[in-house]
């Protein structure tokens, strides 16, 4: 007789309710990470790094020792932690403004160093926290508060495909892009997140999982419309899949 399967708030999450807007998929990704951590590691084996972005309060949610890093610098902070605590599993959780705009140098260099950390990269194509400014990953055509006429390559530059770019480097052991816009993809996202953490445990070096995520509030969409936007608009621009695996 098999034990009953239980789906509930994972232990690697504290009791603090998320401050995210209704339907924001930041919450789904938090849960996935917490599940993976709980399945693989002891609580005291993990140290996390929160970004500056909507996930700034992530330190209230992940039930382990946590750092809050300066905007964009989480990979550098994680480097400092990992060097001092090489036996811990160290991860960062970062948005697209944080990781791909201000933190671009830190991201590329942590990847090139093959720093043995795991980065969960939330690509929602917007600056959620500060109220909807253009992100490096904002799609062409999208209106944001700093691309009020709709993003154009000429006026606002081209969306950056972070995973494709990092995949050219020696250093990363795993670079993959996933989505959480439906159950199938959520389950797949979990698999890749698990692999990323396992890679770290196995000493394989840098891994980054890019998660296409929603921002209903600043996209001006309902939570369901937002999921649809991911599948219909974001995935064509940011195709899912494993971009590098060593």
């Amino acid at each position: 007789m098999a034990a009953p399967a239980i789906y509930g708030r994972p232990k690697f999450l504290t009791d603090a309710p998320f401050h995210y807007c209704p339907g924001c998929t930041h919450g789904i990704v938090h849960r996935l990470i917490a599940e993976v951590l709980g399945e693989k590691f002891e609580q005291d084996e993990v140290i996390g790094v929160a970004p500056v972005g909507c996930a700034v309060f992530a330190y209230n949610y992940f039930n382990c020792d946590m750092f809050e890093a300066a905007h964009g610098r989480a990979p550098a902070v994680a480097t400092g932690i990992k060097r001092a605590q090489p036996d811990k599993i160290v991860f960062t959780y970062q948005g697209d403004g944080d990781l791909a705009s201000i933190g671009m140098a830190e991201t590329v260099h942590a990847a090139a160093r093959g720093e043995n950390i795991t980065i969960i990269f939330i690509n929602n194509g917007i600056y959620g926290m500060t109220g909807g400014q253009m992100a490096p990953t904002t799609l062409i055509g999208e209106k944001t508060s700093t691309s009020p006429f709709g993003r154009t390559a000429a006026a606002n530059g081209n969306p950056i495909h972070v995973s494709e770019m990092l995949a050219t480097l020696n250093g990363p052991s795993l670079i993959a892009r996933v989505s959480v816009h439906d159950v199938k993809n959520v389950l797949n996202a979990k698999k890749l997140i698990a692999k990323a953490f396992q890679n770290q445990a196995d000493g394989k070096g840098f891994s980054l999982i890019e998660v296409l995520s929603t921002c209903p509030t600043n996209w001006g969409k309902s939570p369901l419309e937002a999921l649809q936007f991911v599948s219909e608009r974001m995935i064509p621009e940011y195709p899912l899949g494993t971009l590098k695996e060593v």
Partner: protein
């Protein structure tokens, strides 16, 4: 005159606009005015509030601590700002959404069922206009005309079509407050 006001409610209830219209109306009638929103991530999607000062002399602090008037559009707002009313001051609250009674006895608390009234008017969105009418009446500081003027100023001629409904809502608010 030195009128210190706080408007508070859910994000979608148009409390920031209410405050701005009062400030506009004050400006149009030659007063010194200021409007100051509370801001912060906790404001996003959640609650919203703003301070408005309408005064004969230059405004000192635009952030109102001791309010002559507090307008509470929902329950958490009343809970948060009842204490900010000066003794003898005015607390106007949306009794459609707030079933609790104010606790303080040293202030004048006026319930106005603005959500119900606006639903009656066929446009739940104008609850804030109903409230504005009530505020005008209860403070005696603005006429319906001044508020409509302010509205026209703020929204521009594009929205002229909505003026009728807004005007109606303001009038209903004034009438209810009177009653």
């Amino acid at each position: 005159m030195n009128l210190q006001m706080i408007f508070a409610g859910f994000g979608g209830q148009g409390v920031l606009l209410m405050g701005q219209l009062i400030a506009y109306a004050g400006m149009l009638s030659g007063k010194e005015v200021s409007w100051m929103p509370a801001y912060g991530p906790e404001m996003r999607g959640g609650s919203a509030n703003c301070s408005v000062v309408v005064s004969d002399e230059p405004v000192g602090s635009p952030k109102v601590e001791d309010a002559d008037v507090v307008v509470a559009m929902n329950k958490p707002s009343m809970a948060a700002f009842e204490k900010s009313v000066v003794p003898g001051g005015l607390l106007i609250y949306n009794s459609s959404l707030i079933d609790d009674k104010p606790k303080r006895a040293d202030i004048r608390a006026v319930p106005v069922p603005v959500s119900e009234i606006s639903s009656e008017l066929g446009s739940p969105k104008v609850a804030n206009m109903v409230m504005l009418g009530a505020v005008a009446k209860l403070t005696g500081a603005f006429s319906a005309e001044e508020l409509v003027d302010a509205l026209r100023h703020k929204l521009g001629s594009a929205k002229e079509g909505m003026m009728q409904m807004n005007r109606e809502a303001i009038d209903r608010g004034m009438a209810v407050a009177e009653g």
